[in-house]
Amino acid sequence: MDDSAAAPAIEIRDLCKVFKDHWTRKKKLVLDRVSVEARRGEIFGFIGPNGAGKSTTLKILTGLLFPTSGAVHVLGRPVSDKEVRQRIGFLPEKPEFYTYLTGAETLALVGEIFGVPRAELRRRTDELLSLVRLSDARDLPLRKYSKGMVQRIGLAQALVNRPEVVILDEPMSDLDPIGRREILDMLVALKAGGTTVFFSTHILFDVESRCDRFALLVKGRVRWTGTVAEAVTRWGSVEGAFMEKVREADLESPPDPRAGR
């Protein structure tokens, strides 16, 4: 894998993940030969029903989980590479931060970790708080933030280092329609600035209205990958593709956990 501009932003190849459960229970194959590629500068949606394996994929992509087999590369390098982490931003699903830190302190902590020079960090903190409309709440501890505010500070902390790739796990969860719209607009603005956005969701409208391409994951397998336009041409809508592929998957027998070894 090289780090040339030609290397995809995200490349997942034949990824398998088996969760080893308690010895009395069966092993569970959560991801079955998942292959996905997100190109640089696009908004890529990663969709699927609950329990499809979206969060597991994103956790492997960010190094929180280790693959059972297969390969995962971000910007042409393995995610364990510190250099890669310097260039990505991540928002976990239903994020939990340090509740006694204020919004400004949370961003400052991230900036320190990224080694942002102090003077620039102050400017960057102000800029990001303004971007996510939290300037008025900058000195408020996060335990006093609403869910929507936590989600917004979560997005801000993912952008402190001006990442080339932003990975977001269900970024629109817990947001009201206005908050959702704002986040979606921010994702579009990030793309306009050249950032690759890779996000998981099960809100199909968000994918249809903002994504360039998407992958559909059902029961641990990628059932379809392509542009939104292709899906609309073939199934009438992203929802049409989703329903069709979920129906097909329901007719299959459950995957064999040994396949992931």
């Binding site: 982490r85 976990p92 902590l109 991230v110 320190e112 970790i113």
Partner: protein, 254 residues
């Protein structure tokens, strides 16, 4: 290094803004203040009672902080998933764990010294005597609880918060009596004698940090004893942390 310090600073801020900390400090302060009333009771050596209570108050604070915050440091954070966003930053897992530990140990040191100062001032008011040696005693307590915190962190890397608390308490109470256990164990036969040796060398012997007698007799502590206690603590912290880092580095976060 800047990243490690940033994590330490955030940990200190989290700790000092947490109300749990204040309730523990208040309880320990209450214990020390209560000792002034008890020392007025005309039994035995009043100064000795006061010093014992002061020492017990500081010990209670140290034990509570080591357990509560040491477990909260990793175990609870894993459970609440509040570590996830940090684990993806350009920060190695050992850096994260070390940063958090240093922050916690700084809070421990500050709190213990604050308690020591309160007690010494109280002693001064009661007996018109400056009990400077109490700070040395508390420094030894600090070493003891820094070891216990490292052990709590170690258990936290692979266990649930409740189990981590239980394991840490078990190590603490066994650690208070490993020396005696080693002496008396041979009376129970060969197996007991063997276990006595195992416990003695495997678990920390917290007796090494108990200088209450010297405090009461105002005997100066030999530099050798201070140095040995510090080295002993450093060795156990290094051991507990090596195990913790090994497990934490390989752990998956579902």
């Amino acid at each position: 290094m800047r990243a490690v310090l940033a994590i330490s600073r955030a940990t200190i801020l989290e700790c000092i803004r947490d109300r749990v900390l204040y309730s523990v400090v208040l309880f320990a302060l209450g214990l020390i203040l209560a000792s002034t009333f008890l020392s007025a009771v005309p039994i035995g050596n009043q100064r000795s009672i006061l010093v014992d209570f002061g020492y017990a108050g500081v010990s209670f604070l140290g034990l509570s902080l080591s357990i509560l915050l040491g477990i909260a440091l990793v175990s609870k954070e894993i459970e609440r998933k509040s570590l996830y966003w940090l684990l993806v930053k350009p920060l190695s897992r050992p850096q994260l764990l070390i940063g958090k530990y240093l922050g916690l140990v700084a809070v421990l040191l500050l709190d213990l010294q604050f308690m020591a100062l309160t007690f010494v001032l109280l002693f001064r008011v009661s007996y018109d005597q400056w009990l400077g040696s109490f700070f040395t005693g508390v420094a030894f307590l600090f070493l003891k609880f820094a070891v216990l915190t490292a052990i709590a962190v170690c258990f936290s890397t692979f266990s649930t918060p409740i189990l981590s608390i239980i394991y840490t308490l078990v190590v603490y109470f066994i650690g208070l009596s490993t020396a005696q256990f080693r002496v008396f164990a041979p009376r129970g036969g060969l197996v007991a004698a063997f276990l006595g040796e195992v416990f003695y060398y495997l678990l920390p012997n917290f007796d090494n940090f108990d200088v209450r007698k010297e405090l009461l007799t105002h005997a100066a502590l030999p530099a050798e004893q201070v140095l040995m206690a510090a080295l002993y603590a450093a060795a156990y912290i290094a051991l507990a942390f090596s195990i913790a880092l090994y497990i934490f580095d390989r752990r998956e976060f579902k």
